[in-house]
Amino acid sequence: MIEKSEKRGFILTVLVVSLVGILLILSPGVSAHPLDDDYNGSSEMNTSENAIVMNANSKTLPQGCDSIRGEKKITVKAGKEYARVFPGEMFTYNNRTYYAEPCTKLTVEFVNKDHVRHQWMVHGLPKEIYPMGMFNIEVTGPGKKTGTFITPSKEDTLLVHCGVPQHAQKGMRAQIKIGKSKEDLENIPGISSEKQTGEDGLGGQSPIPDSVVLALGFGIVGGAMIAGYWEMRKR
């Protein structure tokens, strides 16, 4: 017969040791503290009128719309300052989910706070009226540009991103929810996570230290459980 207190103490030991093991298993996923950016880079004035709107549309109705059902105006700001709250990102939009009804004339004022080019590019629009299904406002900041397009009739969530190389990968992704669409797109900062399993889970060569830590963790958990079971049976 095993004493209750003995049993409790025993189970506690197994649990504590297993916890150590589990922590080791989970540790590779923990990221470092966010660095503080130093914004001392000198800035130059935006000397050119470098702002364009591609595929603007305020007249042609998308299929399924018999008339423009309404009008809406939104302001979107973009730049590195909005990414400070998202560790691991570099550029993003101040707001990353927009709402609009179908067949709405949507006017977007795109404000770029940085001193480089950014885009607010919508995808998945009907290709019959929007070449490549795209609407784009592009501004070399600091500056702003306003553009208008008509939303499609289908209730859906459309992707918005910046097409400058690596900007979407480093945080410039957003979504427009048309009508009652509830779907969240993946990898929108502050809204949804990345598709892959972990920050570094991109496949390819795995650094040995992570594997070693994992092995150690599993070993400890396994060993503790086996020893525990063995001990129990002994009594």
């Binding site: 017969m1 004493e3 207190s5 103490g9 030991t13 197994v14 040791v17 093991g21 966010p34 950016d37 130093d38 914004y39 001392n40 880079g41 000198s42 000397t47 364009i52 730049g79 560790p87 691991g88 570099m90 550029f91 001193h115 480089v116 080019r117 592009e138 400058v164 190389p165 690596q166 900007h167 979407a168 990968q169 480093k170 920050e199 570094d200 991109l202 390819g204 060569q205 795995s206 040995i208 992570d210 594997s211 070693v212 994992l214 092995a215 150690l216 599993f218 070993g219 400890i220 396994g222 060993g223 503790a224 459980m225 086996i226 020893a227 079971y229 063995w230 001990e231 049976r233 002994k234």
Partner: protein
Amino acid sequence: MMERKVAFVLLFCVLGLGLALLPPPADAHPQHSNTSTNTTVCNFDNPGWREPQIVAGVQIEEDRSCSPDNPNVVAAVTKGTNNVPKKVLKGTGLSNDAVTKCCDKDGDNDPDVINVTLEIVGLNEAGEESLDYEIAPGIKPAFWTFAPKTRGMATEGSAASDLLRMPAPVLRVEEDDTINLKIENTHYLPHTLHLHGVDHPFLDSKGRGNDGVPQTSEQPIMPGESRVYTAKPRTHGTMFYHCHVQPDVHVLMGLQGMFVVEDNLGDNKVQTLNIGAGKVRHPSEDIKEKYDGEFDLQYQGVDKELHNIPKKYNDPRRVAKQTNRVYDVTERDPDYFLLNGKSFPYTVRESQIIVEKNERYRLRILNGGSRTISIHTHGHKFRVEELDGTELPEDAKYYRDVIGLTAAQRADITLNTTDDGQRSYGPGVWFMHDHREEGVTNDGMSPGGTVTMITYESFIKKNGIPHTPEGVSLSKFFDRGYYNRTTPVWDSPTLGEPSGSGAPEAGVEKSNGGSGMLILVVFLVTALIGGLAGGGTVYVINKKLDSESLPTEEDEE
């Protein structure tokens, strides 16, 4: 005993679980795809681009390469994106302010204030839809480079995407021009610009740092920021420009290009950007006077260990840590070698030196890599004219057939195609390559690296590919399987793939099997150690508990 059997079963279950969760063994060649692809040597959609032509009043020379530069781009960067018709600019993908020119200050009928805007792009970096760029079939290391400012989408097939490539564009201005180089840092890391060999003041007119060195000149340009560097070079020659932030990493990642200052002549609208280097389709007045053609040749090596980091990590902090603090450039071991941003066989499409008999060609060579290169021309001895952008005295100019350049050195040479047994041995398809043997391989697989050819007109086919003798074909090198080491070099029963066990030869699959085995062994050993530690701890603690509170017959009553 039962318990022991059950314990062993449990042990194996834990090990099995661990193994199942183990990440896949390291792939020694992560950039290589296994699938065989289209082995068409030349696959180019715009054969009309090869013709000599005039666009927006700019004369564009013939280029019989498989993949010549877009004449609209050449015209726009020569005349200025602010001076060409919108129709011409639209098809190029360049932004309005990519190259603006104005102001004839010295009255010689050409603009003397040149404003260039460069962005900083990553190629083959982490994340889906990252800009795709192959240096050879199936080989796509990540790069960071300067690119002309573009507009609109940069996805595959767009006009802009053709401009986003290695190497950074060759910049070209006249002596005494004022050049304002605006760097818009669209990348996610800090960068600067350093003008190497180009006469520039240490501080600009507003007293701000103009040399690009973070330790002595200025703060780096942070992501999202921009800065203008300015120069009014008083001397001409072939020079260099590169990032000076953590240069051991950034320069070698691709943030480097040639900077050519031409002689100041009248009516001399110079081709300010030579994107992808190679043939200059609108040479300067000085070159036109003295030569029949001009080629820019930029060489550098690529260490896949470094270039794999931005492919693997998406978090800028991790990229910074891995490149700055984990990667050790003193252990650098280059695997790929680029000529104008490509390795053989892609150099055949873009970087052949196509020549005619009895002519003179100016070749400008930059070694942007970390190792010395030994450039050798088959069939010719060339004359060395200038070194590091400085002309040699006439009697010091000399002929040779191998030129060695160490890091950052430049050489300007004259290739003369007069068949006199020294300057040329006659027409042919003459290999031109780095004579250091590793420099002509792709990760050790030969032929590769910086191989190109001096190809005479009589030997070039309509599609820009050289004629090869009966039975000789270049198409097998365009199959990814070749550089993936899955196809034998010689396809014959006596020298082809060995038959038998079917297991890969030791050394063929190199580190593939090796590092996988290593990880497995390390895992098993560590799991065992962990098991002993965990089990031992439980055992010891319980032994202690036992001794402290031994139940006795008396206590239980």
